[in-house]
């Protein structure tokens, strides 16, 4: 596309304004995290960055969050995806109600879900377990709309009915049709869903904070109260890590997935 000088000037003005707004806080984080603290240091120090390694709580929280994400993914794979395929194949009447149910979390902010679900989690901590991993239940509901969207888009592209009929004629059982035939064809949609699950579980603060679970974000907030430099270093490190991940994941797959998370 041929661009006049005026258009280019506009373009670069806008880019510099936004870049300034976004990059200054990021640089400030780096600056802050390398500032000396305590009595020992002068000038620049990377002690805060080294101290990330000493944060036991943080690593426990990350491990637990990853386990939670794995459970959320399992719930999606063995509960949501098969149900979506089942409804698509066998129950055309239920398609609309199923869609509405899946999109319901969009109308309910996380803070409202906490209000509704607090009694349930009180019951769960008393009778079942106090582990933050139990949050997998409510987290899988939070990502339901995004899973549903990427799934239904994938299911619309593939001719599921023909596939299912062909497989059944050849003698496949229904579970084989769902797990062996249809799920591999909508792999991209499922991978997107898993990506969303990890992003959501690692980034969630509202529900875990109010219900008093020590998840990744809650622990970072705690560290921030005792040692600002370390907390800023952790924040910057995880942000850079995410940007790095996003750069190496192919654009096409990623854009859809990430776009969906943001509306959470």
């Amino acid at each position: 596309m041929k661009q006049t000088i005026k258009v280019r000037l506009w373009r670069w003005t806008i880019i510099s304004i936004v870049a300034f707004y976004i990059l200054v806080p990021l640089y400030a984080m780096f600056d802050f995290s390398t500032k000396p603290f305590g009595f020992a240091d002068k000038g620049r120090t990377f002690r805060a960055w080294q101290m990330i390694g000493e944060q036991q709580n943080l690593f426990l929280a990350v491990t637990r969050s990853l386990i939670t994400a794995a459970i959320v993914m399992a719930l999606i794979l063995f509960l949501v995806v098969p149900t979506a395929i089942w409804v698509h194949l066998k129950l055309p009447l239920l398609r609309r109600p199923f869609e509405l149910l899946c999109l319901l979390p969009l109308a309910i902010p996380a803070i409202v879900i906490v209000v509704g679900i607090a009694p349930l989690y009180r019951w769960i901590s008393i009778n079942l377990s106090e582990s933050p991993i139990t949050l997998a239940g409510v987290y899988s509901m939070l990502i339901l709309p995004y899973t549903y969207r990427s799934l239904s888009a994938a299911l619309d592209v593939v001719d599921v009915h023909t596939l299912a009929e062909a497989a059944t004629t050849l003698g496949a059982t229904i579970s084989r049709v769902i797990f062996g035939i249809i799920m591999p064809t909508i792999k991209t949609g499922i991978i997107n869903g898993s990506f969303i699950a990890i992003a959501l579980v690692l980034g969630e603060f509202t529900i875990s904070n109010i219900l008093n679970f020590k998840t990744f974000q809650v622990v970072i907030a705690q560290i921030g109260r005792s040692n600002g430099n370390v907390a800023v270093a952790v924040s910057l490190a995880s942000l850079l890590f995410v940007v790095f991940l996003l750069l190496i994941i192919p654009t096409k797959k990623r854009q859809g997935a990430v776009l969906d998370v943001d509306l959470a």
């Binding site: 309910i108 209000v115 679900i117 600002g228 924040s235 996003l246 750069l247 654009t251």
Partner: protein, 305 residues
């Protein structure tokens, strides 16, 4: 499968009988899903909606609902929430919209495009704890800009960190995740503008600004408004950022809800939390319905999403 099994279903011909039975049994397949969503989604929703019409002793009454509707503190917080969300949606929408245009006019798939999209994706979810730390490191005590300002611009508001804890400060923080979100939402729309429209405008002698004024802006307006609605809902629902930065109950509705739910001084008031939540849901449902209506018009020319 023998006919005998379906004897009881009462159909005259074996075939339809088996199909009838089959489709009925198929409904059992959704039971596990329904059970799960019933516990973790429908129960909480019902709990909030029905709880809004109950008092703290589980009796049905609209007294709490009315009391909070007329409560000046709750109204103030709700007004703050609406104002903050509208402001940051508009500012974030304009800045993000222009930035998306700047990305779209560059080389598609180039380095700038890739980096800009990756950073936007990461920052759009940056809200909450980490965002607050970023801005405290910038404008807070001992922060980069504050240190700079105390030395060179001691008379400006930047030399004092207290502005960060006001509505305007919060708006600056919220805009930080609204801009990238707008980029993510609006970039696909801009990329779906057909180059033929531009070519047609050029061929007929239209200038660049004329193309935007007569073609681009009219065609993008519904998508733009839709994106603003999403941004509005995004910051209206946000809790983490405000709670880490300013934990004042009467500042924003989400903070008030959290305080009503967890108050450690014995002032816990679940009925109040439910009523406030109910009001929030009403606002979000209105915004999302408008969004859905707008999308329906938009999808006529924009097939991808």
């Amino acid at each position: 499968m023998t006919q005998l099994q379906y004897k009881g279903t009462g159909s005259a011909t074996g075939r339809t009988g088996s199909q009838y039975w089959h489709s009925k049994a198929a409904y059992l397949g959704v039971l596990p899903f329904l059970f799960f969503t019933g516990i973790f989604l429908l129960y909480p929703t019902w709990n909030v909606v029905s709880g809004a019409f109950k008092d703290n002793y589980n009796n049905f009454s609209a007294t709490v609902l009315k009391a909070i509707f007329n409560d000046p503190i709750a109204r103030h917080a709700f007004g703050n929430s609406l104002e903050l969300s509208a402001k940051t949606a508009i500012i974030g929408g304009i800045l993000g919209g222009f930035f998306a245009w700047a990305i779209a006019t560059g080389k598609p798939g180039g380095v700038f495009y890739k980096v800009a999209v990756a950073i936007s994706s990461a920052l759009a979810q940056f809200g909450g704890v980490m965002l607050v730390f970023a801005f405290l490191a910038t404008f807070g005590f001992n922060g980069l800009v504050l240190t700079f300002a105390t030395r060179f611009l001691p008379t400006t508001f930047l030399a004092d960190a207290s502005w960060l804890y006001t509505m305007n400060g919060l708006a600056v923080l919220y805009t930080f995740f609204q801009v990238p979100l707008m980029v993510l939402v609006f970039l696909p729309t801009l990329e779906n503008l057909k180059p033929q429209w531009r070519e047609a405008s050029d061929a007929l002698g239209g200038k660049y600004y004329e193309y935007w004024l007569r073609v681009g802006i009219p065609i993008l307006t519904p998508s733009f408004v839709g994106a603003l609605l999403l941004l509005f809902v995004n910051s209206f629902s946000a809790y983490a950022t405000a709670s880490v930065l300013i934990n004042l109950a009467d500042f924003l509705t989400p903070l008030q809800i959290a305080t009503a739910l967890t108050s450690e001084t014995g002032g816990s008031n679940p009925a109040e939390a439910k009523v406030l939540s109910f009001f929030m849901v009403i606002v979000v449902v209105i915004a999302m319905t408008l969004y859905a209506l707008l999308r329906r018009n938009v999808s006529k020319w924009e097939q991808r999403r």
